[in-house]
């Protein structure tokens, strides 16, 4: 056996090969911190890192919505997550009105809204076979319209229940509480996706819908369910957002749509579906937030942020996704 094949057989090589996308994502984050430290000298500090992680957690949770939909295949994508969260935040603000007593009702409303919107998205994409991009984009518009209609002429009243504020905004010691939520959610997600029959069906539908169908899987139902899950999660994120900000306002969620998709791409999740590692999405989210912080610290502002995002996403797409025609 040649030296090369001997190396290929070692467990270390196999592990590196399988997780290479995660490793690259991690290295990118390190790179950013190094650059930031060189340029700004105070970039790499515990406080900065924790703040980054806190904000990244929001992106990561929205990224979970995208990952589920993208993994189910069929060019799945959910552009309605932003306004979904905003709508829930706006509606439940008045319900909670700063009290803990109505929190349960708020949660129920959030679930109901999320399931309803997700169901519409799912039916239109999986059963009526409209392209997910257009459907979810239109849905985002509709939700925006509903919010406009609801808030027409009046201020959005209501404040989140204190419990929500503790979860979303406050910290225990130096660790932001949302981080704990994330740490709980992540293993649950990984277990569901890799160890349950539903998770395997999801990946199967995305990897090869024909093979999945011939094995007896109802691919349409799986994809519809993916959208329901995405909608529900996004809706719950609305509660988290209002908990974090203290009030609800009309554009709360729309700034998260792009980063949620970008995090998925950076994390190495295949856009055609069939595979996905949530840890990758986490790293992607951290990378994006770090990039934002760096750009803001450099004084580039909004313009720099969007341009930077766009370019980074474009470059990563070239690296991960491009598909030069093989001769």
């Amino acid at each position: 056996m040649s030296l090369l094949s001997k190396i290929r057989d070692t467990p270390v090589y196999n592990a590196v090969d399988r997780y290479k996308k995660l490793i690259i994502a991690f290295l990118l984050i390190v790179l950013l911190f190094v650059v930031g430290e060189i340029v700004l000298e105070t970039f790499f500090s515990v406080g900065q890192i924790l703040l980054t992680v806190k904000l990244a957690s929001f992106i990561a949770l929205f990224g979970l919505c995208q990952m589920v939909v993208i993994a189910s295949g069929g060019s799945g994508l959910d552009l309605s997550v932003g306004y979904m969260a905003t709508m829930t935040a706006v509606f439940t603000a008045a319900i909670m009105d700063g009290q803990n007593s109505n929190l349960w009702m708020a949660i129920l409303v959030a679930l109901g809204l999320g399931i309803a919107v997700g169901l519409v998205n799912g039916v239109l994409t999986a059963y009526v076979k409209l392209p997910p991009l257009v459907v979810t984009l239109a849905m985002a518009n509709i939700l925006q319209g509903i919010i406009n209609a609801y808030t027409a002429g009046k201020n959005i009243t209501g404040r989140p229940s204190p419990v929500l504020q503790i979860i979303a905004a406050k910290s225990t010691g130096m660790f932001p509480n949302i981080l704990f939520i994330l740490l709980i959610v992540t293993p649950i997600v990984m277990i569901i996706m890799y160890k349950t029959k539903w998770g395997l069906k999801l990946f199967g539908s995305g990897a090869n819908q024909t093979a999945a169908y011939l094995s007896g899987v109802n691919v349409k139902m799986v994809r519809c369910t993916a959208f329901i899950i995405s909608g529900t999660l996004a809706s719950l994120m609305g509660l988290v957002l209002i908990g974090n900000m203290g009030i609800a306002f009309k554009d709360m969620g729309s700034n998260y749509v792009m980063p949620s998709i970008a995090a998925v791409v950076v994390g190495g999740v295949s856009l055609t579906g069939g595979e996905g590692n949530y840890v990758g999405v986490l790293l992607g989210a951290i990378f994006l937030q770090t990039l934002t912080n760096l750009l803001v610290a450099l004084g580039w502002g909004d313009a720099g942020k969007w341009t930077g995002f766009g370019i980074v996403l474009f470059v990563l797409l070239i690296v991960y996704v491009s598909n030069r025609r093989k001769r």
């Binding site: 395997l200 069906k201 199967g204 090869n208 011939l214 007896g216």
Partner: protein, 497 residues
Amino acid sequence: MTVLEAREIEKRFGGVVALDRANLVCRQGRITGLLGANGSGKSTMSKIITGVYSADAGEIHYHGKTVRYRSPNEAKLDGIAMVFQNLSLVADLTVWQNIVLGAEQASGLFLNNKAAIEQSREIVEQLLPGLDVRRMVHELNPGEMQIVEIAKAISEDPRLLILDEPTAALEQAQVKSLFQTMRELVKKGVAIVFTSHRLWEVMEICDDVVIFRNGRNVADLDFSKDVKDPETIVSHITGEAGKAKTERIRRRENQEIVLRVSNLNYGSFIRDVSFELKRGEILGIGGLAGQGQHELMLALAGNYAGVAGEVELNGKKIKLNRPASAIRNSILLVPGDRQLEGLFLGHSVFTNLIFPKLGLKAQPLFTPENKYRKEAADIVDVLSIMTHNLDMPVNSLSGGNQQKVVVGKWLAFDTNVLLLADPAKGVDVGAKRDLYDYITEQVSENKMSVVLYASDNEELIEHCDRLLIMYEGQIVASLEGDEINDDAIVATSMRVR
């Protein structure tokens, strides 16, 4: 004058030899026919000449110079045109737009559509008078589409024209027109290579015939000198009985009928098919490629929601309009194209092996990992699947081992009827033997019933108790026991007998 000479061509696909020092000579103004059974290498030869595949060894001389094309486009620039069976038309353009695609004439900036329409009309009139060249291709039936393909090839004024089974989709009258056009071309000095499974066509239009078998030329008949006898030709295609006849295991006759299919219909692919499958029997489906065998297997697996007809399993009527219903009735399919239909290439061997279990109603929410790992390991053992471990991605396995995974995933199921759609296609000899050993064992021990479609007649001969021959969606012959031999299969497939 020799237009093209291919010498000592060798080509392998994985472990399978497609061409073994094969030769072909094409002469100006002559029509050379290529004949051979499925998998004999004739299609591969055409594809190597036109640059779709590249030969592993051998040379091709075109008009005296050595050539090695890397794409059909390069061959086209040199004057070699080919008409394939899989259509290369753009359905949303019109007939004339397709014919001139890539070679449009322009006066200055603008295209000269008038000239294009005229030119197309001329060519099409010869082939299929009355076909309006302004119609959209997606409105045409398969026969008309094939004519347009041929017209497109001819419009490029080729010096060598290769027609790979052009008549498969054509009706009698259209074939006659095509032959007329071919004769005109030949008068202009074009060399033509013509492939068909219909013996009468080859005998009518070809000047000489090259017969392939197992990747080699076995006969070169010149029709101006040699006698045209169909039986002789058939025997060249199938080969004399120089091979030791494999002992066929006589299975004990069991008259219990497991599956009864009546008047199955699906579009033009399956026309009024009826047959019975006995318990413990291996029923073969044979015939020329593309006569509906693959579709029949898919229909039995519940893949077509719109299939018409009645199916009875063990006396009970069942509906086969979803794969899940077939699976629940323990009618399991090993699909023909493993990469497209049977495997999740990026996923592990383990995931692929246990996937079908997920469709069962009784499946627990959390997949019992340990139990399934053991079952998967058992399957790997039983079928001798060569893989480092269960977590290797399945696309790292060889073709044969991939196929074993496709079969293996059903192993843990109680099977009533196993549908095999060309299970050994592209699989090496060792893996093939393993697969069939396993299947025949299951049949004798557990009285599993099998419907086997194979493109290689040898497999059918070796394993089937009964063999149904399909032609254009219908069952045209039924062979039993000792009647199943190469001669009979080829002859009935080609409708000679």
